[in-house]
């Protein structure tokens, strides 16, 4: 029993030291959130996507929220042009259709294709890290390559929806066009 206590204490101390004393590399989701923030700065939505001039730019998160409160904190008091940025956790097709960016968290019975169907014909930038997201009709896909975040973009879909992506973003993306 004493040995068990000793070892437990050992584990506890190890964790405490490592947790408290050192600078922490960011989590995958935090860097993705930072990319999403950049998208709001370097992408233009058509005027028709907003009900009125200063209407909020809505980032919708569908599925289990992977960001915690990080994404909300990141975009707090920030603007995309004249539009204040807000984060919403969406479920229904109605809520989805009001978003300007839709982040789809895969897994847990999230039928990615179905969700993408609700975004058809609308100026919604769809983002996910689901496998084959582009092939299924998504616009931006995050990849973790060697513990670094990369992203693929299929420019055909945003173009068709009237979304203008700055060359600053396109330059860094892996272009994955589905039109053959």
């Amino acid at each position: 029993m004493r040995k068990f206590l000793n070892i437990s204490l050992l584990l506890l101390f190890t964790g405490w030291f490592s947790g408290e004393l050192m600078a922490q590399p960011p989590a995958e989701e935090q860097v993705k959130a930072a990319f999403i923030f950049n998208f709001t700065q370097f992408i233009e939505w058509p005027d028709s996507a907003f009900p009125y001039k200063g209407a909020p730019l809505i980032i919708g998160v569908y599925g289990i929220n992977p960001f915690g409160s990080f994404l909300e904190n990141l975009v707090d008091k920030e603007y995309s042009g004249t539009h204040p940025i807000v984060v919403r956790y969406v479920k229904s097709p109605d809520e989805i259709s009001q978003c300007h960016i839709l982040y789809i968290e895969p897994g847990f019975r999230v039928k990615v294709k179905e969700v993408l169907e609700y975004t058809e014909q609308k100026a919604i930038l769809t983002v996910s890290d689901a496998e084959n997201f582009i092939e299924m009709g998504g616009m931006v896909r995050f990849k973790n390559v060697d513990n670094r975040i990369r992203f693929q973009i299929n420019p055909d879909k945003p173009n068709a929806a009237g979304i203008k992506i700055s060359s600053k973003v396109l330059r860094l993306a892996e272009i994955a066009s589905t039109s053959q």
């Binding site: 584990l11 947790g19 959130a33 897994g107 847990f108 860094l172």
Partner: protein
């Protein structure tokens, strides 16, 4: 009165005489200075204490970075696979490649120790026994184990020869461990559990990996792997590894004759034909010897697997796989030479005819040719050569009774084997998603353990003897062992960083193995006169305490009650040496960016029937990333109780599991 042979240590030796006597317990020792050493590590302060990085908050920092800079930041991620686990109505655990490499495990059995729903015991330097939910023994036969979908059991006793099962641990993607019958798609032997060791695909292991390691038990280990591409669509990797493991010591101080080595070369290739079609080829060649007396035991094997995957759409996928496997062993202590050829073809197709149904169907054909010869005629397999074809078909439907809420999976597998002809394994599973944060599942399944050669063909002696002379004459009427399993499980993900899972089971077994004499004679046969029940609870969890500290682990409670109508000397408790309590805690901590400390605490209570005592022991691994291509690590294993392990065989063999240390240098380019 039972015929006994002098048995020496050797992998086959317990086969010579199924002896059914009990054992006694012993005390273990502890190593206090190792505790002191570890405590010292706490005192070394991290230089990062004094860094200024903490001044800026993370959101501000990230927002101030350009996208180019964001693309260069190294991130850490929690395994996404944890999400998929919640979708499965079974007691599944996944050990990721990363967790495996952060454990100090040096081979597959040590890696499987990380699965809290498996019982793993090392008997000798080259012998392990592994099972799930009971019945662990040298004859453990209720676990289906695969490497990349290739079944690795031997039909000799429906178990695994663990010493020759080898993978380059660096390239393991994950190990999936299901305790319980697991579902329709798993084949023969998936009675108490299914293990699949999956290596990374060829395109994920590019570049060079080279390592050398040595220590006081595992010595002279060298491994080299090269991964490259041919054109755009073909990736491959080739590796060779070799190691030597030293002998172990008996409790009387005498040295076991179980030092051994293994050399293994392998190749894996991936051809991405197009976005929907893939072809994977995996080949392995291995060989080695163990230093038994009076001659060395030698073994070798070759296998090749080809798999074609075709994704017709998001919901329709086809897989066709074929493998050829040859294993050979000349085991000196038992005087057996065993050769096995296996050819297997299997097909699986999953599709969704409507929104509410996800179906999988498939079939397989396996042909096994087993040749077992013996130097002596006092024991052996009759006939020496047996050809065993095995056919099966299965079908499973996952029905969405209430979308996003309630799912019912029903399925059945029909199998044909030469011993018992047709066997049906139906199962039904219900999964209720209470909320995205937790779900509950329940299942009823029928499992079948089909006869193996040791049940049917085992003869002692191999020549006919009169019925008043004691002998064992196989089990010509042996039928399959049967299981009905009732399971209930609960999974919770209260926060992103905590995952918990609880699984309870109640198993009833029928037609279990027994040995009894034909009435009025001294002729013993293998029969099915035992039965029993077992039940237990498996608890597992993973907690990401800080970004740099992850703890995973679990506890299993297990009870078993067996009975038999076969008279003495058969002891039904010899069917399994299973502890009532078992626990594993695995802590992975990054002390700094480059320094990693991993600790595994593991222990179990003694089981009534063997000489293995209670033990609580731990393994430690320290890894240092000296540069981005060079890693040094040191591993200590069995640092707690020097627990003894014994197994009741013809001769009681009690082997010490002494502390082991290992130092390793690894390069990655």
């Amino acid at each position: 009165m039972q015929t006994q042979l002098q048995s020496r240590t050797g992998l086959f030796s317990p086969l010579i005489v199924p002896d059914f006597s009990g054992g006694k317990t012993k005390q273990g020792n502890s190593k206090f200075f190792l505790y002191v050493l570890l405590m010292v590590l706490l005192i070394i302060p991290s230089p990062k204490v004094f860094s200024q990085d903490q001044a800026d908050t993370l959101p501000t920092r990230l927002k101030s970075m350009s996208m180019e800079e964001l693309m260069n930041i190294e991130v850490f991620s929690v395994s996404r696979r944890l999400e998929k686990l919640s979708e499965t109505a079974s007691a599944i655990q996944i050990i990721t490649g990363e967790e495996l490499r952060r454990s100090g495990a040096t081979n597959i059995p040590e890696a499987l120790r990380l699965a809290t729903n498996l019982q793993v015991e090392q008997l000798q330097s080259n012998a392990w026994i592994i099972s799930s939910r009971g019945f662990n023994s040298v004859f453990a036969n209720k676990l289906l184990v695969m490497i990349n979908g290739r079944n690795i059991y031997t039909p000799l006793f429906a178990g695994i020869m663990w010493d020759v099962q080898s993978v380059l641990l660096e390239d393991v993607d994950r190990i999936e461990v299901i305790s319980g019958p697991g579902g329709t798609i798993w084949g023969a032997n998936a009675v108490n559990g299914v293990v699949n060791i999956i290596t990374k695909s060829a395109d994920e292991t590019q570049g060079v990996y080279a390592s050398v390691a040595t220590g006081n038990h595992l010595t002279d280990r060298v491994a080299v792997r090269y991964g490259g591409k041919i054109g755009e669509k073909i990736s491959y990797r080739a590796f060779i590894k070799r190691e030597h493991r030293d002998f172990t010591t008996l409790d009387n101080g005498q040295q076991n004759e179980d030092a051994w080595n293994l050399t293994h070369a392998g190749l894996r290739m991936l051809w991405e034909i197009d976005d929907q079609k893939d072809l994977t080829i995996i080949g392995n060649v291995y060989g080695g010897m163990s230093f038994s007396e009076p001659e060395r035991t030698t073994y070798d094997g070759q296998n090749i697997t080809a798999r074609y995957d075709h994704a017709f759409s998001e919901t329709s996928q086809l897989m066709v796989q074929a493998f050829f496997d040859r294993t050979w062993r000349e085991d000196i202590p038992s005087t057996f030479t065993d050769q096995l050829h296996t050819v297997d073809v299997n097909v699986q197709h999953s599709f969704s005819p409507s929104k509410r149904h996800r179906m999988i169907w498939g079939g397989s054909y396996r042909w096994m040719e087993s040749l077992v010869t013996s130097e002596t005629d006092s024991v052996g397999f009759v006939p020496e050569l047996r050809t065993m074809p095995l056919y099966d078909v299965f079908f499973q439907d996952e029905i969405s009774l209430l979308p996003e809420k309630l799912y019912l999976t029903v399925g059945a597998k029909l199998q044909y084997n030469i011993f018992t002809e047709y066997e049906l394994k139906p199962n039904a599973r219900l999964s209720y998603i209470i909320s995205p944060r937790h779900n509950i599942w329940t299942a009823v399944s029928r499992g079948v353990r089909t006869p193996s050669r040791i049940d049917v063909d085992y003869h002692l002696p191999t020549f006919p003897v009169p019925s008043d002379v004691p002998s064992v004459q196989g089990g010509p009427d042996f039928i399959s062992e049967k299981l009905i399993a009732y399971e209930l499980g609960y999974r919770a993900r209260p926060t992103q960083k905590i995952m918990l899972s609880l699984a309870g089971f109640y198993n009833t077994y029928d037609d279990l193995y027994s040995v009894e004499a034909i009435p009025g004679t001294q002729t013993y046969q293998i029969t099915n006169s035992s039965e029993g029940t077992s039940y237990g609870v498996e608890f597992t969890g993973t907690i990401q305490l800080f970004q740099q500290w992850r703890i995973r682990g679990g506890y299993t409670w297990f009870q078993k009650e067996l009975s038999t109508t076969a008279p003495a000397p058969f002891n039904v408790n010899s069917l399994g040496f299973d502890p009532e309590h078992q626990m594993v805690i695995h802590s992975m901590a990054d002390l700094t960016d480059d320094l990693h400390l991993d600790v595994i605490l593991r222990g179990r209570t003694a089981d009534e029937n063997s000489v293995a005592d209670d033990y609580l022991t731990f393994d430690v691994r320290i890894g240092w990333d000296v540069t981005n291509w060079l890693e040094l690590s040191a591993v200590g294993q069995n640092l707690g109780d020097t627990h003894y392990h014994g197994y009741a065989s013809g001769v009681s063999v009690t082997t010490r599991m002494e502390p082991r240390i290992l130092g390793k240098i690894a390069c990655r380019f």
